[in-house]
């Protein structure tokens, strides 16, 4: 079965760049593009255990007359075709419900807040909520279109990072791109991480698919992050902590996304869960 990528189109230069990222991802992974051109400033996404209201910023509604043509031109010039999502259900007359049964979603770092914050490594609150609730991973793109030529999975041994690794393997197989694993040792031995993978019965696949497993122990995590290839798709598992929890406990995901400017595929806590 082919996979489905969900994209919300923004009719601005930034929106064009994000759409190009979606098109590139679709071409690489053979995913079908599902594009929503918003007609309302807000919409709801009903997940299994949460309902997320996405309040788009005003730029999403700019020049709606030209939006459809622009999307079609961009998509078709890349040899793809897109399915345009028209909301069927409305919670209120100006509040459509958008389906959530996709395999991926592409989003810039922020869809509700000021886009100027994107350059500062800020991930918007709505994007965080979607990551937290969605069963699909969210592709958080760079502000300017950039192709990725290999895949780097951040693996720290947690349940979510195992899910991220499985996704990395799947994507590597699908795209034929090299797969790297990034592990910050954090005082533990390499064997510790290898044992985790053995328990998950992933060792065989790792040997087969992974080009290089990079272990870093000497420098700080932030410094080591600069070793990640700039043209790599970074796959990260995230718990979807709130901002307060992140401040108190810290978050690897936050450090990664604010240090390197790669395309990210963020795997949330509900990724892969069966209803």
């Amino acid at each position: 079965m082919d996979s489905q990528l969900f994209h919300i189109f923004r009719n601005t230069p930034l929106g064009r760049e994000t759409l190009l990222q979606s098109i590139y991802f679709s071409k690489q992974t053979n995913a079908s593009l599902n594009i929503y051109i918003p007609k309302f400033i807000k919409f709801l996404m009903y997940f299994d255990n949460d309902v997320v209201q996405v309040d788009l910023d005003e730029s999403y509604l700019s020049s709606p007359d030209t939006a459809l043509d622009r999307v079609k031109n961009l998509v078709e010039s890349n040899g793809l075709s897109a399915n345009f999502i028209e909301p069927k259900n409305f919670t209120a007359s100006t509040l459509p419900d958008i389906p959530v049964n996709f395999d991926f979603m592409c989003s810039p770092r922020s869809i509700s807040d000021l886009t100027s914050k994107i350059g500062l490594g800020h991930i918007g609150t709505r994007v965080r909520r979607i990551v937290q609730s969605a069963k699909f991973p969210v592709l958080i793109t760079t502000p300017v279109y950039s192709e990725w030529n290999n895949i780097t999975v951040f693996f720290g041994g947690s349940h979510n990072s195992i899910k991220a690794l499985k996704l990395g393997i799947r994507l590597s197989r699908l795209t034929g791109k090299e797969l790297f694993i990034f592990t910050q040792l954090d005082g533990k031995k390499r064997e510790h991480y290898q044992e985790i993978l053995e328990k998950e019965e992933l060792q065989k696949e790792i040997n087969l698919m992974v080009t290089k497993w990079n272990f870093y122990g000497s420098k700080s995590f932030e410094e080591n992050l600069y070793n990640v290839p700039h043209d790599s798709l970074a796959i990260v598992g995230a718990y979807g902590h709130s901002v307060i929890k992140n401040i108190i406990f810290g978050s690897k995901m936050e450090k990664i996304q604010s240090t390197i400017q790669n395309n990210f595929l963020v795997v949330g806590p509900n990724y892969g869960q069966v209803s």
Binding site: D2, Q4, S32, I41, K42, V51, Q53, T91, A92
Partner: protein
């Protein structure tokens, strides 16, 4: 961390694993108390605001107050909380019917504040729908916090609604029945017990904080046979008024939509008209419970014509308030209009039949309220039990049953759906439990896909195809073009004539026998629509095509198989 998760997942605890009823009862108590507190908070805020503005009621500029309130309310809802406006109850019914009771957290307080602004400044609306919305949202979010499943969440949504109604009217039975009749639309044992307990919790919270106060407990309600006969007339009148109100509310909404301006300006315009109307008929302002008390106690001295005009003025004022963007519900206006209608009907009876000793006019005002609630909500039991509880007496039970039942029936004849669900029914979005649509909504095309069919190329020779047929168990074969796009289907039945003619094996290519006009299904199609297409065209399976590529087959047998499983999940 794992321990914390375990604490938040009580449904996994050994104690509740076998039977979750006790868990739902415990949760119901929490939800009932919270929604009761929310209801009391709104009630208290409204009283304070109304009392504050009462001092200014003699000033000429007072007509502007409902406009300010409605504008603030609309601004708060649309710009501060960015929540789509609405009465509240339809949104709760919608979420129960489509999304297992998922309601946004902000809804647990948004309508409380907005309706407080609308009603407190004099807008004609009721606080009951906002507290129902608030209670339901509290229930939903508590269920989410504890990772409860859809069925359990729906029950807690019901608990919230019941607790809120029970607290605001001090009427636990009415709260429970309103929830079962209007919100959930089903009477199942699994739901009734927690909802009843939540009702009790809500009512007890109210009694603890504001006292066990029965509004009309001292009324004498000894009706006789002739009053009973008159009830049939009253039921017909309340049904007519209910229909009028339903249509006026809806039409006013359509009228206001034509005024292309910002929502808060539109709400202010409606509020201004309500304020002007309030100059002539002050009873139309606010929730109107003072007028009800006067009518029920027999101290409302205005004549028949004034009472009748007041009823219509209240309908107009409520339509202007809610239809133009104010926030609030129709429950309290229904009670006010019902009591006006009952009172007017009583006065008419006294004029036409002066020799008959009719029961006191307060009784007819109460019966009018029941008739109106039953008519507009098409919920006769809610009407009956609400009146029984707010009078603390069952003496008037027989006329109540008569008025409520007849009013509901007559209304149903002209307006098949109640005011709350009319929009949902028109859009095909009301999916009551146990219906085909409800079950199928939880299934998607993607999860029913069958992949065990062999895809063949359009330029394949028939001889090669025979080999494919030999190894396949299916009697249809999806066909692809060279570029991988979907070309159609080859049905085994249609190739049978060529099967026994070996000369044809090298003379035919698949392109010649493929059915390229075949109906296809998309991932986003509703399964009920897919089933309908299959039935109408005598099909047993259809290809699913995504972005012009064949994705798999979907068959009636698989749909029905999953339907059975889903029905089990939804009903146990």
């Amino acid at each position: 961390m794992r321990k914390l998760f375990s604490l938040r997942s009580p449904s996994r605890w050994f104690f509740f694993r076998a039977d979750d009823r006790l868990l739902l009862i415990l949760m119901g108590i929490i939800v009932g108390i919270c929604s009761g507190l929310a209801a009391l908070a709104l009630s208290y805020s409204l009283e304070t605001l109304l009392e504050f503005f009462h001092h200014y009621s003699q000033h000429w500029w007072v007509f502007i107050l409902p406009a300010i309130g409605a504008a603030l309310s609309s601004f708060f809802l649309n710009y501060v909380l960015k929540e789509g406006a609405g009465h509240g109850v339809p949104e709760v019914i919608y979420s129960v019917s489509r999304y297992g009771g998922l309601i946004r957290l902000r809804s647990s307080f948004s309508r409380l504040v907005s309706s407080c602004l609308t009603i407190g400044f004099g807008g004609s609306a009721g606080p009951e729908a906002p507290v129902v919305m608030s209670g339901a949202a509290i229930g939903s979010n508590i269920a989410n916090f504890f990772y409860l499943n859809d069925r359990q969440r729906v029950t807690l949504v019901g608990c919230g609604a019941a607790g809120a109604i029970a607290a605001i009217f001090n009427a636990p039975i009415a709260g429970m029945i309103f929830t079962m009749e209007v919100i959930l639309g089903e009477w199942s044992m699994v739901n009734i017990i927690p909802i009843a307990i939540a009702s009790v919790a809500g009512a007890e919270t109210s009694r603890l904080l504001v006292g066990n106060y029965i509004k009309f407990s001292h009324l004498t309600l000894n009706t006789n046979f002739i009053d009973m006969v008159a009830c049939f007339g009253l039921a017909a009148v309340t049904a007519i008024v209910s229909i009028l109100m339903t249509r006026m509310l809806r039409n006013m909404h359509h009228v206001s939509e034509k005024v292309k301006t910002k929502p808060w300006i539109r709400a202010a315009m409606g509020g201004c008209l309500v304020g002007l109307l309030g100059f002539q008929v002050p009873e139309v302002l606010g929730e109107g419970y003072h007028a009800i008390e006067a009518m029920v106690q027999g101290t409302f001295k205005a004549g028949l014509l004034v009472v009748a005009v007041a009823a219509f003025a209240k309908i107009l004022a409520t339509s202007l308030t809610l239809g133009w963007g104010g926030s609030g519900g129709i429950f309290a206006p229904c009670l006010v209009i019902g009591s006006f209608t009952g009172l007017a009907f009583h006065r008419l009876l006294v004029i036409v039949f002066p020799e008959i000793a009719w029961v006191n006019e307060g009784c007819f005002a109460l019966l009018g309220m029941a008739g109106m609630i039953s008519g507009i909500l098409q919920a006769p039991l809610t009407g009956i039990f609400l009146i029984v509880e707010i009078t603390g007496s069952s003496e008037v039970m027989l006329p109540l049953i008569a008025v409520s039942s007849i009013s509901t029936t007559l209304c149903h004849y002209f307006e098949p759906a109640s005011f709350y669900v009319k929009d949902l029914v028109e859009k095909g979005q009301l999916l009551r439990p146990g219906t085909d649509e409800r079950v199928l909504t939880d299934l998607s095309v993607a999860e029913l896909l069958e992949f065990d069919c062999v895809v063949i190329k359009k330029n394949m020779m028939f001889r090669e195809f025979i080999e494919v047929v030999k190894s396949s168990k299916r009697n249809y074969y999806p066909v692809e073009n060279e570029d991988g796009s979907f070309a159609g289907i080859v049905y085994f039945d249609e190739i049978r004539p060529y099967l026994f003619d070996t000369l044809m094996y090298d003379a035919i290519i698949i392109e010649q026998i493929v059915d390229d006009k075949v109906r296809v299904v998309n991932y986003t199609d509703d399964l009920s629509e897919v089933l309908k297409t299959m039935d109408n065209n005598g099909l047993y399976s259809m290809p699913v095509v995504s972005n012009n590529r064949f994705a798999g087959m979907i068959s009636k047998a698989t749909i029905l198989d999953h339907y059975r499983k889903e029905l089990k999940v939804q009903t146990t």
